[in-house]
Amino acid sequence: MPMAAEEIETMIRAAIPDAHVEITDLAGDGDHYAARVVSESFRGLSRVQQQRRIYDALGGRMGGVLHALQLTTACPQ
């Protein structure tokens, strides 16, 4: 069962409350998404550490029910 965009956003924001989350449904099929997550809490972390925080927020769904999520992380400018 694929995940809805709102569900992805809710899970990320639950773990990273200040996160600004933009989700794009790439193929319009509810299964291929791009997410851009901006959070002050990423400052000082490597890209790998930033993305691990998103993966942790998604509680093991990444690579499972959530196959196709392009992920970009950044700190606020």
Binding site: R47, V48, Q51, R52, Y55, G60, M62, G63, G64, A68, Q70, L71, T72
Partner: protein
């Protein structure tokens, strides 16, 4: 992860300067993310070893634990995990990936 899988991953990661764990092969990638990772390495003109995780369930599961990273592809340079395809793309576009390879003494064509 089995000891066997860990030993084989260790030997691949440490025995090659640049290794891409991917779905499919560089000529026939089986997933868009793996395809993108291959394209980046080809653009950089770097020699790399590739491992098709679809051919080996032990490595397919083991590599995710090995790096504490839930998705494939995964890039390693000189034994260090660099990231997945999104991080590769960001680092490629900013020039950091080329720089990293150069700093690590890996020959690139560009």
């Amino acid at each position: 992860m089995t000891d066997d899988a860990r030993a084989r991953i260790d030997s691949t990661v440490n025995g090659n300067d640049v290794v891409l764990f991917m779905k499919g092969t560089p000529l026939f990638p089986q997933c868009g993310f793996s395809s993108r990772a291959v394209a980046i390495l080809e653009h950089l003109g770097v020699e790399y070893a590739s491992v098709d995780v679809l051919q080996d369930q032990g490595i397919r599961q083991g590599i995710k634990e090995y790096s504490d990273w839930p998705t494939i592809p995964q890039l390693y340079v000189k034994g260090e995990f660099v990231g997945g395809s999104d991080i590769m793309m960001e680092m490629y576009e900013s020039g950091e990936l080329g720089q990293l390879l150069q700093d690590q003494g890996v020959t690139t064509a560009h």
